[in-house]
């Protein structure tokens, strides 16, 4: 699947085993990183591969996969990913729905609607660096056997 003319996704790597296999829904988390390779013609291809080695400034993609393994449709699904402290949120991936984000773990919404309270009581507009948690509410029920994937971009602080 081509993302851009010079970039493509590698999604075959290391889909980790689902932890919550008890219920009819499974969720898997992956962290991918960009791997640039220069072809003989000088073009640079950017592949997303499972992150093994990241240094400050590296861009990473957090990918959440879900699958309804049961026999009934499931509704009101919410996927929640607290952003690790060492990670700065950047935005949704191009292939993913935009998540609601939170800067305090309580109020969720589009980043542009959020404000950060300062020590002196004033507030300022929230920036991507302020995001502490990312959440998607799926508007539609997920039919039996269906699966999907959501992702966001981030950078190692």
């Amino acid at each position: 699947m081509y993302l851009r003319s010079t970039a493509f996704w590698v999604m075959t790597g290391l889909l980790a085993a689902p932890a919550g296999a008890a219920g009819p829904l499974q969720v898997t988390a992956k962290v991918l990183t960009e791997q640039k390779t220069r072809a003989a013609d000088g073009s640079v291809r950017v592949a997303l591969v499972p992150a093994r080695r990241v240094v400050p400034g590296d861009r990473v993609v957090f990918v959440l996969g879900y699958r309804n393994t049961g026999s009934q449709p499931i509704g009101n699904i919410v996927l929640d990913n607290p952003v690790p402290a060492a990670i700065a949120y950047r935005g949704p991936s191009q292939s993913s729905a935009a998540p609601d984000v939170s800067v305090d773990g309580k109020t969720y919404g589009p980043l542009a609607t959020l404000r950060v309270r300062l020590a002196d009581g004033a507030t300022r507009a929230a920036a991507p660096d302020d995001v502490t948690s990312v959440r998607w509410r799926l508007a539609n029920t997920v039919p039996a056997g269906a699966q999907g994937q959501l992702s966001f971009q981030a950078v190692l602080k």
Partner: protein, 322 residues
């Protein structure tokens, strides 16, 4: 049948800084401590959660946990603090270089010193332990072996000590610093060589850097070098409102010089901090009187007058960011 969420592009907002802040930040880039990069070896743990409704109740499922180890970025810079040093015959020269570990882990760096003339031998290399920018034979230890251990973001000053009598013609001194864990093309990986067992990855500097200082025999022109330190009310070094910037002006006079004055306007967006003017660590009053300094809201002035001998003089003053 994959269930595909609708694609939405996020509206990203760039933080905006007032232009004054931006100018100050740009001006202070070299004076700033390295930004708080994630230390090498830090585990980054990610677990997602999923909640849904089934059988009339809300259920929660945790994902697998993905753990990454932040790798160590190997980066180093070196700067000749005095790009040109005027040689006074038969005196010992202390040629200062500033070495900065711009990586995210503690690292040992090997130093090599080369001179452009075989006749010039380096006596030794000393570390400016008390960070006073002045070589002090009693307090600044010799580096033996020629290595520096620097924490992430740490900067150290070294002095290359040379007998001035050896300098018969203009020459250059080149100091090169190389990360012990490895160096080379950016992106080169040294498995397991980073902090806490992490991999080490060569950064944009190649983990190796050189700087050159020129030794000149001809009587050089007087030079005036300006540097600054910032102290914010919260104890940080950020150039924020209320922060105190202390400027240090080092006037290097390579020989007898007449009619020396040092003038410096107070930068726009800052206010002079009363009674902060000092010459060679002696406070000067702001008003026009017997001491050589005056200061007002517009500028500081220090009149050194006629100087019979070569030497350095240091003027300091402070301003508050408005």
């Amino acid at each position: 049948m994959p269930h595909r969420p609708k694609s939405v592009v996020a509206a990203q907002r760039k933080p905006r800084l007032p232009s004054l802040w931006l100018m100050l930040l740009l001006a202070l880039v070299t004076a700033m401590p390295a930004s708080a990069a994630v230390p090498a070896g830090t585990p980054i743990v990610n677990t997602a959660a999923l909640t849904f409704e089934a059988n009339g109740s809300t259920q929660r499922v945790a994902s697998n946990t993905v753990t990454l180890l932040a790798a160590e970025l190997l980066d180093v810079t070196i700067q000749a603090e005095r790009p040109s040093v005027a040689v006074q015959s038969a005196t010992q020269l202390a040629v200062p270089f500033l070495v900065t570990n711009s990586g995210n882990g503690p690292q040992t760096f090997a130093l090599t010193i080369a001179s452009s003339q075989q006749a010039i031998a380096v006596d030794r290399v000393a570390l400016d332990r008390n960070r006073d920018a002045t070589f002090d034979a009693a307090g600044d230890p010799t580096l033996a072996p020629l290595t520096l251990q620097l924490a992430a973001g740490e900067q150290a000053r070294i002095f290359v000590l040379i007998d001035g009598a050896q300098v018969a013609a203009a020459a250059t001194i080149t100091a090169t610093v190389t990360a012990h864990a490895g160096s080379g093309a950016a992106g080169t990986v040294f498995a397991g060589a980073g902090a806490n067992g992490s991999d080490a990855v060569v950064g944009a500097t190649g983990a190796r850097a050189s700087a050159v200082s020129t030794l000149s025999l001809a009587v050089a022109q007087p030079t005036l070098a300006k540097s600054q330190t910032v102290k914010a009310p919260d104890g940080s070094s950020w150039a924020i409102r209320g922060a105190i910037i202390t400027y240090t002006l080092v006037a290097d006079l390579p020989g007898p010089t007449r009619g020396v004055t040092i003038d410096d306007p107070i930068p726009a967006g800052t206010a002079y901090l009363a009674d902060s003017l000092a010459l060679d660590a002696v406070a000067l009053s702001d008003r026009a009187d017997a001491d050589p300094g005056t200061a007002d809201a517009a500028a500081i002035h220090v009149r050194l007058g006629d100087l019979a001998t070569a030497g350095s003089h240091i003027v300091q003053f402070s301003v508050r960011i408005l």
